[in-house]
C-alpha cells in the first residue's frame, strides 16, 4: 500500500520585511527540511508550539503555499511547483478543517453555499443544483445539524456548530485525506469532545487519512496513531503515539509532556513546580 502523503526534505523560508535599507533581513526558516510519510487510512498528528512550523507544513501539504525546496506527494502525485489550475486533483482528494470556527466561514454566505462551495468550485459534468442540494442536506444531517441550518448565516451558530459546518464543507467533495488545523482549540470544553468524536467517527467510517495539527498533546494522543513532534521548523521526534507519550526520547518532547497540566498528576498532588521540572 503506497503512502497517502509523502513529505520529502521540505523547506519553507519567508522573507521578512526589510528592517534596514542597506541589507535585506535574514529569511525566517519556518520549516527546515522535514520528511515523513503518512500511510493511507492513518491518523497522523503534528504537535508543536507556536512557531514550530506545524501550521506552515499543513498549508504546504494542502497546496495552499509553496515550499522553498523539497517535494510533497499527495496520493502519489507531486503537488510542488504546480499552478493553481493544475491542482484540481489535490482539491478533490484533500480537504482542510481550519482552527477558527468564525474566521473560516464567509460571514456573507449562507450555510448552504458554504458547504456546497467545493462542489461548485470543482463542478464537473453531472453536478446539478439538485444533486448539490441533496448532498448539502445529507451532510448537514451527518454532522448533526437541522435542515433549516442551510438557510442561515454563520453568525447564527455557536462555535461548535460552526465547526460542524466546516467539517461538512470538508467532506462535501468526498475527499480521501482530511487535514485538520487545530480544529478544537477554539471550542468550549463541553463542545470539544463532540467535535473530536465527529472527526474520528468520519475518519473511521469513511476510511480517511487524517493529518491532525495541534498544540494540545492530550488531543493528539487521543486522536492519532502516530505523531511527529515539531520544534523550530524541525521534526524532533516521530513515532507511534503511545510510544512517544509513554517513553519520550527527545528532551524537548519530555519537556513538552511535563509542561502540559494533567488532571491525574494534579490530583496526585503535583503542583506547578512539577510542570517546569523542578523538584526532580
Amino acid at each position: 500500500m503506497s503512502a497517502s502523503i509523502v513529505v520529502q526534505d521540505v523547506v519553507r523560508h519567508y522573507r521578512r520585511p526589510r528592517a534596514s535599507l542597506l541589507r535585506p533581513s535574514p529569511p525566517v526558516e519556518a520549516v527546515k527540511g522535514v520528511s515523513f510519510e503518512v500511510a493511507r487510512g492513518e491518523r497522523f498528528g503534528l504537535v508543536g508550539e507556536s512557531g514550530s512550523g506545524k501550521s506552515t507544513l499543513l498549508r504546504l501539504i494542502g497546496a495552499l503555499d509553496r515550499p522553498t525546496s523539497g517535494q510533497i506527494f499527495v496520493e502519489g502525485m507531486d503537488i510542488t511547483g504546480r499552478r493553481e489550475r493544475d491542482l484540481g486533483f489535490v482539491r478533490s482528494q484533500l480537504q482542510v478543517v481550519f482552527q477558527d470556527p468564525m474566521g473560516s466561514l464567509d460571514p456573507r454566505m449562507r450555510v448552504r453555499d458554504i458547504i456546497a462551495e467545493p462542489l461548485v468550485a470543482q463542478a464537473g459534468e453531472g453536478s446539478t443544483r439538485d444533486a448539490r442540494e441533496a448532498r448539502v442536506l445529507e451532510l448537514l444531517e451527518a454532522v448533526g445539524l437541522p435542515r433549516e441550518a442551510a438557510d442561515r448565516f454563520p453568525h447564527q451558530f455557536s462555535g461548535g456548530q460552526r465547526q460542524r459546518i466546516s467539517i461538512a464543507r470538508a467532506l462535501a467533495p468526498r475527499p480521501t485525506i482530511l487535514l485538520a488545523d487545530e480544529p478544537v482549540s477554539a471550542l468550549d470544553v463541553s463542545v470539544r469532545a463532540q467535535v473530536l468524536n465527529l472527526i474520528t467517527e468520519f475518519v473511521e467510517e469513511l476510511g480517511l487519512t487524517l493529518l491532525f495539527v495541534s498544540h494540545d498533546l492530550s488531543v493528539v494522543r487521543h486522536t492519532c496513531d502516530r505523531v511527529a513532534v515539531m520544534r523550530a521548523g524541525e521534526v524532533v521526534e516521530l513515532g507511534p503515539t503511545a510510544q512517544v507519550y509513554d517513553d519520550p526520547q527527545h528532551p524537548y518532547t519530555q519537556q513538552l509532556l511535563r509542561a502540559a497540566p494533567s488532571m491525574r498528576r494534579a490530583l496526585r498532588g503535583g503542583g506547578t513546580a512539577e510542570l517546569v521540572g523542578g523538584g526532580s
Binding site: R59, G62, L64, E84, R85, L87, G88, R91, S92, L94, Q95, V96, F98, Q99, D100, G103, S104, L105, D106, P107, R108, M109, E117, P118, A121, Q122, E141, A142, V143, G144, L145, P146, E148, A149, D151, R152, F153, H155, Q156, F157, S158, G160, Q161, R164, S166, R169, P173, Q194, N197, L198, E201, F202, E205
Partner: protein, 293 residues
C-alpha cells in the same frame, strides 16, 4: 451515518447580514431622512412643480419669500425659486449618481485587482492612483469642460474619475483584509480559482465599505457640481441647478440675499445629509467596529 445533534440553532441570533442588529444611530436616521427628502423632491418635480421652473415672467420679477403665488419668491427673470429648487434636486442626484457610478465602476474592480494581482502589479496600480489623487478634482473637471464642452455629464465624469483613487484604495485595503482570512484559505482549499474568490468572497465582503464610500463621494460630487456651475463650467442654462442658482444670485446678493440663501441652504443640507448617511452607514457596517463586541 448520523451524528449526535448539535443542539438547537440559537433563536436569539436573528437572520440578517450583520452580527448584531443595532438600532440605527442618529446620524443614520437624520442623514437618511435628508437624502430621502432630496430624492422625493426630485421625484415630485417630474409630476408637479408650482410653476414652470424655466418660465420667464417679467410681471413677477423678484418677488419676496412668502409671496402667495411664489412661496420662495422669484428671481430677476421672474422664475419661480421653489420650482427651480425642486428640479435642481434632479440635477443634484443625477450628478451624484454619475460621478459615484463612474468612480465605483472603475475604482472597485481596480481595487480588487490591485489586491489580488501579483505584488508589483498592485503596487504599480496604486502608485498610479496616488498620482491621480494628487491632481485636484475641480481642475480636472475644468480641463474636461474646456476640451469636451461644458455639460453636467462631462463635469461629472471628470469628478468621477478624480474620485476613482479613493474607491480603489478603500476597496484594496478591504480586499487585502478579506484575502488574509481563513475563509478565503478554505475557499482555495475547496478548489476555488482567483476569480471565484474575487466574486464570491472579496466583493460581498467589501460591499459595505463601498456603500459607505459611495455616500461620502456623493456629497463631494454634489459640492463639486455646485462649485463648477458657480464657476460657469457645470450645468449650462436653462437647466435648473442649485450651483447655478447661486451663481446667478451673485449680482443681487445685497438687494435680494434670499436668492443666494435658498440654493445655498439646499446644497449645504444635501451635502450634510449624504455625509451623515455615510457616517451612519460606517458606524453600522464597518467590520472593524463590528468585531468589537
Amino acid at each position: 451515518m448520523s451524528a449526535q445533534p448539535a443542539g438547537p440553532i440559537d433563536p436569539t441570533r436573528v437572520a440578517g447580514q450583520p452580527r448584531v442588529r443595532r438600532r440605527p444611530g442618529p446620524s443614520l436616521v437624520v442623514g437618511g431622512s435628508i437624502v430621502a427628502a432630496v430624492v422625493l423632491m426630485a421625484l415630485l418635480s417630474f409630476v408637479w412643480t408650482p410653476h414652470d421652473p424655466t418660465l420667464v415672467n417679467a410681471a413677477a420679477r423678484l418677488r419676496d419669500v412668502g409671496d402667495p403665488e411664489h412661496w420662495l419668491g422669484t428671481d430677476k427673470f421672474g422664475r419661480d425659486v421653489l420650482s427651480q429648487v425642486l428640479v435642481g434636486a434632479r440635477t443634484t442626484l443625477f450628478v451624484g449618481v454619475v460621478a459615484v457610478g463612474v468612480a465605483g465602476l472603475l475604482g472597485v474592480p481596480l481595487g480588487v485587482v490591485a489586491a489580488m494581482a501579483p505584488r508589483w502589479v498592485g503596487e504599480t496600480l496604486m502608485r498610479a492612483m496616488d498620482l491621480l489623487l494628487a491632481f485636484p478634482a475641480l481642475l480636472l473637471a475644468i480641463m474636461f469642460s474646456a476640451v469636451y464642452g461644458g455639460s453636467t455629464l462631462v463635469a461629472m465624469i471628470a469628478i468621477g474619475i478624480a474620485t476613482v483613487p479613493s474607491f480603489a484604495r478603500i476597496v484594496r485595503s478591504g480586499a487585502l483584509q478579506v484575502l488574509s482570512t481563513e475563509y478565503v484559505l478554505a475557499a482555495r482549499a475547496a478548489g476555488r480559482r482567483s476569480w471565484g474568490i474575487g466574486l464570491r468572497h472579496v466583493l460581498p465582503n467589501v460591499s459595505s465599505l463601498v456603500i459607505v464610500q459611495a455616500s461620502v463621494a456623493f456629497a463631494i460630487a454634489v459640492l463639486a457640481e455646485a462649485a463648477l456651475s458657480f464657476l460657469g463650467y457645470g450645468t449650462p442654462p436653462p437647466t435648473p441647478s442649485w450651483g447655478r442658482m447661486l451663481q446667478e444670485s451673485q449680482e443681487l446678493l445685497f438687494s435680494a440675499p434670499r436668492l443666494a440663501f435658498v440654493p445655498g441652504l439646499a446644497i449645504a443640507v444635501a451635502v450634510l445629509g449624504f455625509n451623515l448617511l455615510g457616517d451612519g452607514l460606517r458606524d453600522r457596517y464597518d467590520p472593524r467596529l463590528e468585531d468589537r463586541r
